[in-house]
Symmetry: D2
Amino acid sequence: MSQPVRFALIGTGRIGQVHAASIHRSPDAVLTVAADAVVAGAQRTVARFGGRATADALEAVAADDVDAVVIASPTPTHVDLLAAALAAGKAVLCEKPIDLDITRVDAVRERARTASTPVVLGFNRRFDPHFAELRRRVRAGEIGRLEHLAITSRDPQAPPADYVRVSGGIFRDMAIHDFDTARSFVPDVVSVTAVGLRQFDADTAAAGDFDAAVTTLVGAGGESVTITNSRHSAYGYDQRLEAFGDGGMLEVGNVTPTLVRSSTATASSAGEPYRPFFLERYRDAYERELAAFVAAVRGDLAPGVPGFEDGRAALLLADAAETSARQGRTVAVDLG
Amino acid sequence: MSQPVRFALIGTGRIGQVHAASIHRSPDAVLTVAADAVVAGAQRTVARFGGRATADALEAVAADDVDAVVIASPTPTHVDLLAAALAAGKAVLCEKPIDLDITRVDAVRERARTASTPVVLGFNRRFDPHFAELRRRVRAGEIGRLEHLAITSRDPQAPPADYVRVSGGIFRDMAIHDFDTARSFVPDVVSVTAVGLRQFDADTAAAGDFDAAVTTLVGAGGESVTITNSRHSAYGYDQRLEAFGDGGMLEVGNVTPTLVRSSTATASSAGEPYRPFFLERYRDAYERELAAFVAAVRGDLAPGVPGFEDGRAALLLADAAETSARQGRTVAVDLG
Amino acid sequence: MSQPVRFALIGTGRIGQVHAASIHRSPDAVLTVAADAVVAGAQRTVARFGGRATADALEAVAADDVDAVVIASPTPTHVDLLAAALAAGKAVLCEKPIDLDITRVDAVRERARTASTPVVLGFNRRFDPHFAELRRRVRAGEIGRLEHLAITSRDPQAPPADYVRVSGGIFRDMAIHDFDTARSFVPDVVSVTAVGLRQFDADTAAAGDFDAAVTTLVGAGGESVTITNSRHSAYGYDQRLEAFGDGGMLEVGNVTPTLVRSSTATASSAGEPYRPFFLERYRDAYERELAAFVAAVRGDLAPGVPGFEDGRAALLLADAAETSARQGRTVAVDLG
Amino acid sequence: MSQPVRFALIGTGRIGQVHAASIHRSPDAVLTVAADAVVAGAQRTVARFGGRATADALEAVAADDVDAVVIASPTPTHVDLLAAALAAGKAVLCEKPIDLDITRVDAVRERARTASTPVVLGFNRRFDPHFAELRRRVRAGEIGRLEHLAITSRDPQAPPADYVRVSGGIFRDMAIHDFDTARSFVPDVVSVTAVGLRQFDADTAAAGDFDAAVTTLVGAGGESVTITNSRHSAYGYDQRLEAFGDGGMLEVGNVTPTLVRSSTATASSAGEPYRPFFLERYRDAYERELAAFVAAVRGDLAPGVPGFEDGRAALLLADAAETSARQGRTVAVDLG
């Protein structure tokens, strides 16, 4: 068997912990160094999962005993870390988004394009076993020609006002996942029509942002995609997918912790509440994402694993949706 | 079009009302006379659904303007009314059971066998569209050779103590429906193994009866049937069916009034409470039962419509189950 | 009991037959006269359900022994028949749409507004027991404040090219039902954003029409409604509803003939194919529609029963959607 | 953090591999030695998951660097290895059954009872997250007093004839899992009524065994449990549970790999085929079983983790079921 891939983990917050655990559970990966500006976080991580701790992300990225870097630090640091890692010849798994500003993304685009090591974008939904299986069956032709995709994506609750202000807005911060999901079915999107809504959150409205949105994409082949977003959902994290082809329909509903169902005098066949948020809903996806990245590092990049260009395209769609919602008109896009 | 079949309805209680409404809704049936010892009940019925009222059941049965008789009066009257109707050359739809005493059933058996008019037994489950469709698909060979049938049958709540004492016991009163359902799949039952239970109802125990039971039937071809009965069910009337063959499985779950499902912070995809009891659960079945009877009167007796012999066989199985439960042993039966 | 309401039925085609059967099954209604330009159709109808036949619709509408008129004739005849019926003091149940041209609708608006008898529009979905129960629970506050409504509405297959050309287009012909459903939850719609699609049907494209569409409505209270339409659906008639409030979610899925589910080596828990089209899917709805109309004739107009103004508002929304789809912009509407 | 528990794994066949992988994935466990009479199997295991290989099970059991032993070797070796491990002061996770012969089980009973280290029986269903959650909710009183438990348990296909002959019969080999599940809800079983069936497998019949069975247990509190077994199931591994209390019902259906559902012209909402067999169906359960065992080794034995006495009780019930099926009578049992 090959030697395990040696990892530097940059950022040991909530999502960094998820990646550290995935590295530990994989027989093909090992954590060499964890970096965090708050070094105590890095220290707690290596105490549980192995490796050394540092406050210096660039040192970790460049270390000789590191083959691959997971960028799980705050968004504004992504572009520089990505550039540094590629310059050091390291493979990169970068959390989304690359950046909120397309000009900053484009500034590293050429470097990513010509890098000798893979860049994988952390669009977790691509690796969800339910969605991936639906996509596999669509691609296998089971429902014929794909005509429509319906994406439902509601977060459990609006983020704090502080976060909303720096989030980049609902399209760049939240819907960007769904734009990528859309593109995993319909890569070549040609137009965006979005309706922005202010339904419940005063902080979001005060920030000039929307707390809900409905976006319709049209693909070059005439396919349509609807994305329904809300910043809250009383019944848990709502992540559903439905694909409609000229031969049938495939769908994935929400996930419950177990299959227990209850029937009483007031309700029948009631399931458990849905998974509360992404850490629980996409637990398996994160483990599969790490595995796909490890395979890519070893030269086996599977089709459908999202890369730099996918991260850029999702941001372009978010920008177009923002424009459409604010101007009340359909916006043409060119993702080429 | 043919003239509507002219009906005498004997008994205008709860189930009599159901039959009166079915007769009204059918373009092929008309209510000529309703009889009830409590003549006010008969009068109320004809005020709504047409025809004349009488307190004299035998007069109604014998009337010249009557083609067919629905016997929906108390069980002890069934045998005599059945005999009278057949003697008068009338077709009969008789509510179950024919009688609680097999000797009284056998006393009219020959008359039923040689009658020129059809006798249909009111085993409503035979006419349920869900169960009937499952049976049709089993017979069409969709799951290969039938090996096992699981019948779940729980009433919403135990009947009053007064009723329990004259009911004939859980097997003859309640499970008899399920014995007939079993025979609609596996007509030739050769053994009965029953376990009687006293789980919750003191009145039932005081009457020497069981309030729950588990019965296993074995067919001549080695098929097994399990029947799970309880006299109460906190979540509504529980009527389910599952057929297991060497090629697959078919099942019918419980019915809700509508398909509305609810998701909240405490439960997901919760359906409405199940139908409360048989009048609601088997509403469509009663209408189809009447239609099948009308067809039989017109000479078109569909396969699977239960007759006198089916009523007798179900009682024999109930008697055997009672013996098995009381003696703790498997009882061989001969339904021939 | 009151005397049954006496009906004239105008139009004895497919949908006319449905109404004739509903009238027959109701203990509170009777068919007095059926009119059809093709008198043989009227004759066949009365042979089955009673009454007399005529080729003269206006004579039927004006007849003394008629209390109420069902207009089920071709769309271009609706406005004149409606006016004639109201002039004769008859109650009217009019199939949708009132007309495809808003100016013709407006020409009879005042007469409808001032009529002494009720006008009920045949938006069958309003009477569907599943959708009605969902709406009842939304109105009862079960999911808190309504924020979003998702309507899925796909016909089984595109109509013939001849029909497409005179249909008025996907919005006025097909989506009009969904606009009314939207308004039964969010009556005061203020803007319409629609995307029209040409995905599969060459005849529709040749007629300059769309074969699929995605429409987003926004209500005065900030509510959003998405309507997803397609002129074909490989898996049967697709009619679903989902209501999202700040306290939870309610949904209604598609209807199968029975609850039989099948599990085999290749699929688990597979239901029967969905109902093929509206006659099967909305069978109960038509019977309830007739009952609601009978109640209205007797002076008991239930809240939520759609009237003339609802028919007009749905057409206004369809017109706005057409404009939006063709011009690629959000269109403001005023339904007042 | 504490040091990882050091494991000896005895037996590296199919189920041994599952345990080796669980040990690897746990941050609290490490594989020290793997033993197999076929030493190449042990060698392959340690190459993947670490540790040393040996052909000598007793040496592995007694090794100083071993804290805990997993017994996954053939059934006839269990009793001796269990005794040796306990004698060496090691904790034991023993695959079911302890032995097929109750006298051999009873011969080590006292040693197990007085051991200073825990003995955990590998009844995987106890650790299944679905079943465990259902049990937790029953114990929490959610459905009131438990009255009935229905266990459905069908293997995908009959084992080879060679295996059938040494299996101990359907009750001791297969249903023993279900007897333990029954006891995890109703520990004190007082009677067993079983019906043995020969429905499809000639080899099984030739061996004098049954290929299907229906067993009814009664608990000291009057609770009933039905177990429906078959040696084959065309639609995959069928493992379901339903608990009926005086306050409601809880159920767990079968598991599919993902939640994708398909609707076509011939079926609606069809799920994927169920998990094929126990390795896939109980994957999570095995990982949780290992975790529960590690916790027990560290002194934290959770309630409901099955031990030696549970293994013995399940065998007593299997023996009673065998007697009942062969003699056609209810058999009283005393598990004390």
